[in-house]
């Protein structure tokens, strides 16, 4: 079934279906030739084929967002790593507040104890966070025998 008129009589109305086969290069040589003859005689047919080709290319170059489960591999996979990660973030937030206090109350910079507190909080916070990731990685390495299988 055609949705256009060529102004030229074509005895094989079924040639319309061949346009898709022509587009996908799956026709026999005889059918391919029939389609070429028709395209040479019919500008509307040529335009139709080009439009279908362009829509096809837009479809084929479409990319899709990965399934959200892909995020799961990056989340804490055990209670221990969850606790470490949460505690680490909490300590870093305290560190941030201390740094803000340092900026607005510069006289505390003379207090060695305060400076030690800031440095210590930073070290502790990052250590907890990185340890939580290490715990997850060690757990994965121990339990996933297929991790090294190429995919």
């Amino acid at each position: 079934m055609s949705d256009h008129t060529c102004g030229v009589e074509h005895p094989e109305a079924a040639a319309d279906d061949l346009f898709s086969g022509y587009l996908d290069d799956v026709l026999t040589q005889a059918d391919r030739q029939r389609v070429r003859v028709r395209l040479e005689r019919c500008a509307a047919c040529r335009q139709l084929v080009e439009e279908l080709r362009t829509i096809r290319e837009n479809a084929r170059t479409t990319r899709f967002k990965a399934p959200k489960d892909a995020l799961q591999a990056e989340r804490p996979s055990s209670l221990l790593s969850s606790v470490l990660r949460s505690t680490g973030w909490l300590v870093l937030m305290v560190w941030l507040v201390l740094n803000i206090a340092l900026i607005f109350f510069l006289d505390v910079a003379d207090d060695a104890g305060f400076v030690r507190l800031i440095v210590g909080a930073s070290l502790l916070g990052w250590t907890l966070l990185l340890t939580s990731v290490l715990v997850d990685r060690l757990r994965d390495r121990k339990t996933d025998r297929y991790r090294g299988v190429a995919r």
């Binding site: 279906d17 479809a59 899709f64 967002k65 892909a70 990056e74 990185l130 990731v133």
Partner: protein
């Protein structure tokens, strides 16, 4: 080190090896031999082999379901369902055969079951507003922001128009254009002759073209296409 920091921050990091094939739904698959090893092990109840199969097939199943349904939430549900069916019917599968055709059949059947539950007749249009663009990822590498936006807009219009097709037409367009199956593979999956595939695909493409034209002014069509 940067990746480690980002993981600590809970930020999902794109796999460095993720190829364009993966983002189009044709995930970089394990070889037939690797699948055969996993399947043979999984048949004996090996949980790690089952996990490996599920991990390898999750994305192909998801992308196919998403392309049929246009909805990420439903696609996630179908993916879970399909993987459970796949693992539950391994005894019926011969390990040396390609896995993806069988997976597609399972996903397709799961989609059909979902649509029946939602009381959507196969021959009818979903009477929807089409597929939403949120499922798409912007990956055009064109440095020109304007051209990138136009390219993305084109794809979104085609994607949206796909969602307006009747189910039978939408399915065959998905199989040919998004899944890149051959006519023979489509014929095998749908259990119809190749001639039927060609004629059905042509009608579906014509209707898709009509939907795209409805979405844009004809004067804009040349610039769009």
């Amino acid at each position: 080190m940067l990746r480690l920091i980002m993981m600590v921050c809970g930020v999902s990091v794109q796999q460095e090896t993720q190829s364009t094939e993966e983002t189009t739904g044709e995930a970089k698959q394990a070889s037939v031999d690797e699948f055969a090893v996993w399947i043979d092990a999984a048949k004996t109840g090996d949980l790690e082999a089952q996990n490996a199969l599920a991990a390898a097939l999750r994305e192909p199943a998801f992308y196919f379901a998403l392309q049929l349904l246009g909805n990420r939430e439903d696609a996630h549900d179908i993916t879970q369902d399909a993987l459970l069916r796949f693992l539950g019917n391994l005894d019926r599968f011969e390990s040396g055969r390609p896995v993806l055709p069988w997976l597609r059949r399972i996903v397709r059947n799961a989609v059909i079951d979902l649509q029946r539950r939602k009381n959507v007749r196969r021959a009818d249009s979903l009477d929807s507003d089409g597929y939403e663009g949120e499922a798409l990822e912007i990956v055009d590498q064109d440095q020109d922001a304007g051209r990138r936006a136009v390219s993305q807009e084109r794809r979104e219009i085609v994607w949206n128009s796909l969602g307006r097709l009747p189910e039978q037409h939408r399915e065959i367009v998905v199989l040919r254009e998004y899944q890149d199956l051959s006519y023979q593979e489509i014929a095998d999956l749908l259990e119809v002759p190749i001639g039927t595939v060609m004629s059905r695909l042509h009608r579906a493409r014509l209707e898709l073209r009509s939907r795209v034209l409805e979405a844009v002014d004809e004067s804009e069509l040349e610039s769009l296409l």
